[in-house]
Each structure stands twice: as C-alpha cells, then as structure tokens.
Symmetry: C2
Subunit: 385 residues, 2 copies
C-alpha cells in the first residue's frame, strides 16, 4: 500500500506471492507472451530516482523478415501528478508542470525515446468535475501557438522526438474550447492536431459543459518513426473509434486519459488491449495519478455528500501489442515514465497470421450500420409465432 | 497441474497464494466488482460430482428500480470433452456426446437454468484442423430437422429451457455446409438459426475449407427470458460483429468457441469482456476442453512436424457483465457447467450511467465506413510538408 492507502501495483503483488512454478503460466494467461525488459542507461535510472519518478522499460520483438528491415522504435508514456495546488496562480501551475514533465522528457531522451505521449490535458488539474468555468477555462491555449505547444516544440527539436501533447485547446476565432492532442514532429513543427471524438456523460460527469465532440475525424499522423493516432480518453470505450483510426492506417494509437476509481479500473486493462488485438496495432494507455483537491466543494449526482476531490487517478499506464501481449502497468500512485521498444513489423506479421482485416466484411457492416442509423430502422429480431 | 500437465485455473492459483489483505484489490482490478456465489441445490452438486464435471454458480445483481421488476434469469454454459475417440463410428460419437451433454443439461435444469448454450459444433471433434472432408462432413445435420435438433427440442420442452445448439449444419437443398447455432425455444420449437459470420484463416487453419461466412446477418432471438444473439467463435475478434448484434437489441450475446493454445489464450479474457463493456450487455464465452487426437497426422503450416492433434482446448468459459465485472472461468481441463444468474435490468442501468450508445456518433461512423470500403478510399493521413 502507498502512503495514501492506495494499492501500488497488481503486477508486483503477483510477482511477490505467486510461486515461481506457476508464475509464468499466470503471467502468460493474464499478460500474454513474455516480453523483454529493456536495459536502460544508468544516467536515466539515476535521474529518475533523483526526480522521484518510476522508470520502466520493456521491448516487444518481431520475427526477422527477408525483405523488410526491423522497424524498431521507442515510445515513451508519461503519467504524473499535478505539481502545485489547484488554487495556485494558473501560470505558476502550468510552469511547474512544464518543468516536471520537461525533466521526465529529458530522461526519455536519455532512453532514446522517439515518440512520447503525455497525459490528457497535461498542463492542468482535471477540473471538469467541478463544473466551474472559471478559472479552469483559462488553462486553454492555442494548439498552434500556445505556450505549451512552443514548450513542446523546443523539446521536440532538442531531443529529435515526436511529442503528443494533449491540452485544453482554445480556438481563438470563435472562443470555443476543445479537448485536443497536438502532434509535434521531431523537426519541431506542429504536424497537426486531433480532437477528442467522444465526450463523457457518465453519471453527472459531463465534459460537454466545457467542450463538445471533436470535428477532426480520425486523422493519422505520418511521423518519421511510424503512423500514429490519438484516441483521447473516453473514446477508448468506443471500439469504432479505435477501428477507424486503424482503418486510416494507424500503427500506434495513443489513449491519453484521466480516469478514477472503482467504476473504470476493471475496464482499463481490457479496452486498449482489445483494440490492439482487434486492429493489429500497438495501443498506449496513459492515465494520470493522484488525487486532486479543489477549493470549492462539489457534488457528483451520486447521492453522496459534497466533496473537494473527484477521487484517485490510478495511473497504471501500459502498452498493448497486436499479439495480445502487454507490458506491466506503471504504478497506481507514482509519477512514471514507461519506455517501450516495439518493432512495428509485428503489426503486419500478426495481421498475416490472424487476418482480422481480411475477414472483416466491412462493406457489409457499412451497409448494415447505414440502415441502423435511419429513423425507420427495424432491428432484426426473430420471435416465436 | 492436471494429469495432462495443463494448468488448472488462474483464479484458484490467485486465491491460494495472494494474501487475504491484497486479494480483494487484485480481484477487483482483474475481474471487477465482486460477484456473489450462487447456492446451488445439493442434488445438482452431487450429480455433477458423480458425473465428474465441474459445477460453478455466480450471480450478477442490479439495483432495484421503481417502475421495473427485476429481470433475473439464469444462464448455463457447458464446456466438454468429446466422449469417444475420433475414429469411433460417427453415430456412436454423436450419441455419446448427446448422452453426456444431456446429463449436464439435466443438472442445469436442477439449477433452474433458463437459457443454456453449448459449445461450438458440440456434437463432434473440432476436426477442421485435419483438412480432411471425410468423414467429418458426415457430422453435419439439418438445423431444422436433424437428430441433434430433435434431441435438443426434447430437452427444451422437458426443462422449459431455451437451448442454443451450435452444430455443423448441412443445408440439404444445395448440400452446403455451415457453422450454425440453432436456437430452440423453451416451447420446444426451433426459433431460428444463425450462422458464423467470420471464418478463421489463422495461419493455415482455414475453416472455409468446410464452410463460408454466414449469410444470416445479425439476428437477435426474442425468447421469453430475454433477447439473445450468438456470435460464433472467431467472430469474437471482430468488435463490429458484437456491436451489430447489440444494435439489433441483444441483451445477452453467446460466444460458443473452440480455441487452443498459446496464441489465443491471452486474448480470451479480453474480447468477450470488452464486448460486454462496450455494448452494455452480457456476454458468455464458451470454449471446449481437452486434446482431440486424430487417426491421420497433419501439418499446420507452422514448420513443425506432422502431428495427430491440434493442441489443448483450454476451456475457461466465463460470463462478463456490462459493468466490467466477470465470473471466474471454468477449469482449463475439465468438463464443466457454469450457472450464472443475471438481472437483465443491469444493462440499461449501466447504459444510463456510461451512455456509450448515446455518445456513439454512429451516423458519422456509417458515413466514414461507407467511404472507407470504396475502392478509391484515401486514408486521412497528415504528413509533414
């Protein structure tokens, strides 16, 4: 248990208690094919220790081929607490998180990470539970020219790294706010942005108080390291969302998220992993950590007393591979950087074995779904006469 | 370990070794909300023991509502070995399995099961790995008038039970063979049939040697106990398949399967469970057990020596609920009957909380998918200029 009474890590409990003789079978059934641990540079390990964040590295291998070279790249996932209290001046809060995440990106660079993804709305507390507009909308920035984008551009250039930077976006022209991931090329240029496609209305937790469903479709970003897409948070519950990114060619789909508590945690290891299997691609699930306390209390439409926090964000960021295997999760309580080496050749290799796209009958689904969304749709239900 | 060297059960290993203090958190993260064990009648427990099969019972509860009565029903899942050797006379093989499964259905009746689902092509060995047409196609029967359907009709009437009977179907008129589930009403009438929508071509394991993709779409069967659908085997890898059954109104989707070995087992706990979450419904995953040995050796296009078996079918049948929780699995090695009580009100309750259908944007997906299946589809890929 951590200081806060939160359970630290499922995988560590299993490693500690399940006898050697059964552990490999337990892990195979739960996590798939055994993956290798990466040897990370001493400097990175030391720096992570000094800066008090967890650093883990794993590698997914692919078989050698005759006509293609391996396409080994390294992906980094960052999960972190907010740094200052939620009532600190906004610019101080942003700068403190920039500094913290900057350290972590530096360690990622030491580990030769090529593409890094930060957590959802990473520059701010996840304040949408409060339903207050002020001061939280002040965290919104321009995707193209905001401070955070400029900060990431510097890092991207310095470290030759693609950075996926999910922020609260302010679109200046109409003052609209979006939940957006900015994709910054390793050249330092903004490659583009992609907006959260599905907006939660879970119980009374309704982010459409702040921003609506994204209008950027299922854009895939061609980077020099591979084709990536970003399925933000609640979109992970929608298999069609993952699917459509894959149909547009994504080799890695990131899922920067912010999710708490008992309701979603058993779903967390299932959804991104199912998407990796079903779409013959890698998926990267990222969740923030910690409990964020707000000055004003709020209720949550759940019959409970007003309170000042939304619950514990349980971290547990992980990467899933198309062959059904996955990395262990990062801690449920600590800041962390997960470095994962993957050979992108694995996607095609698994597709050639399992053939889900070939056997997908998509034309028929397009037709069925087109009928199903008509107002006069009659479901195909057989009854006894 | 079982006699055959196969690992018996993930859940039992965890129960045995993880300390009490951590076990509930481990189980919550892995399996979701704690579910209740059903008290099953002594007679059923005794008979299962005498007949040497595992009997387990669990219950998923829902909250009481003011305007709807609970809709509690009991579902039964049966997993079993073949009974006689694969070289025994065909009619003897079928009769022996009928007798065995008949015993198990009787125990299900003692447990007040309302709907039971048998495993894929339950009357026969899963001989499609041999690629021999004879004698295996002789196992095919008429869905409407075959011996197996008649056998199930008797059971259905006798026990007032809906029976989902997945068989190898022979369509007489054109001599075509299908992989079909026959749904028999508790009245004893054949309510209808539904054919396997996605046919595996995994490595060299190509069932389209025997039967092609089904032509029955996504039929849902309205029984007196609830609306059910059957997603046969390999269709579980296709999220669109589960989805379309749900769109047609399915409250419970059965997934009778036959799957072996290292490649699929880590996917097994993920796919049906993801479908239950994503579609706000119950899913029931059923896999046969045992290693089936054939007279003639065959290769599997995997560079290995010719052999006489396809590998170990690992059982592990389970039920998943829309709230992300699931039952433990049946054994990896033994015949078994899983009895699960579920309040179907849970589906709507979870849908009202999580709202995946409301937030699904299906009209937009219908449009995107319709474009994606066109020959001139241009994927939405952004590149640096």
């Amino acid at each position: 248990m951590s200081a806060g009474g939160e359970f630290e890590s499922l995988e560590e409990i299993l490693e500690r208690h399940v006898p050697e003789a059964q552990l490999s079978e337990v892990k195979r059934i739960l996590f798939g094919k055994e993956i290798t641990k990466l040897l990370l540079p001493e400097e990175a390990i030391e720096t992570a220790k000094e800066c008090n964040f967890e650093l883990k590295g794993y590698g997914f291998e692919a078989a050698p081929e005759q006509l293609r070279l391996p396409r080994k790249i390294r992906v980094g996932l960052i999960q972190n607490h907010i740094v200052l209290p939620t009532y600190a001046p906004i610019l101080d809060q942003i700068n403190a998180i920039h500094q913290r995440v900057g350290q972590m990106v530096e360690v990622a660079a030491m580990c030769d990470v090529n593409i890094i993804c930060l957590q959802e709305t990473w520059t701010m507390p996840f304040a949408f539970c409060t339903r207050e507009k002020a001061p939280w909308t002040e965290f919104a920035e321009s995707a193209e020219e905001g401070n955070t984008t400029r900060f990431c551009q510097e890092l991207a250039k310095k470290y030759n790294m693609v950075i996926v930077s999910p922020i609260l976006e302010r679109e200046k022209l109409h003052n609209t706010i979006w939940n957006t991931a900015v994709v910054i090329s390793n050249s330092g240029n903004v490659l583009g942005k992609t907006r959260k496609n599905h907006i939660p209305r879970i119980g009374d937790f309704n982010e459409s108080t702040y921003y609506m469903e994204g209008d950027t479709g299922h854009t895939v970003f061609q980077t020099v390291f591979g084709k990536i897409a970003v399925n933000i948070c609640y979109g992970r519950h929608h298999p069609l969302n993952w699917f459509m990114y894959s149909i547009n060619g994504a080799e890695i789909i990131f899922n920067p998220s912010a999710t708490v508590g008992a309701l979603s945690e058993p779903m967390w290891p299932i959804e991104a992993r199912n998407a990796a299997i079903a779409n013959h691609c890698f998926t990267c699930a990222i969740n923030r950590v910690g409990t964020e306390t707000f000055k004003n209390e709020f209720t949550s439409g759940d019959g409970k007393k007003a309170r000042n926090d939304f619950g514990h964000f349980y971290g547990s960021s992980y990467v899933a591979a198309p062959d059904g295997s996955r990395t262990p999760g990062l801690s449920r309580t600590r800041d962390g950087l997960l470095v994962v080496e993957m050979d992108l050749n694995l996607n095609r290799q698994i597709s050639d074995i399992w053939s889900f796209k070939m056997t997908g009958r998509y034309a028929e689904y397009a037709e069925e779904l087109s009928k199903a969304v008509q107002r006069d749709f009659k479901p195909n239900i057989v009854k006894e006469e």
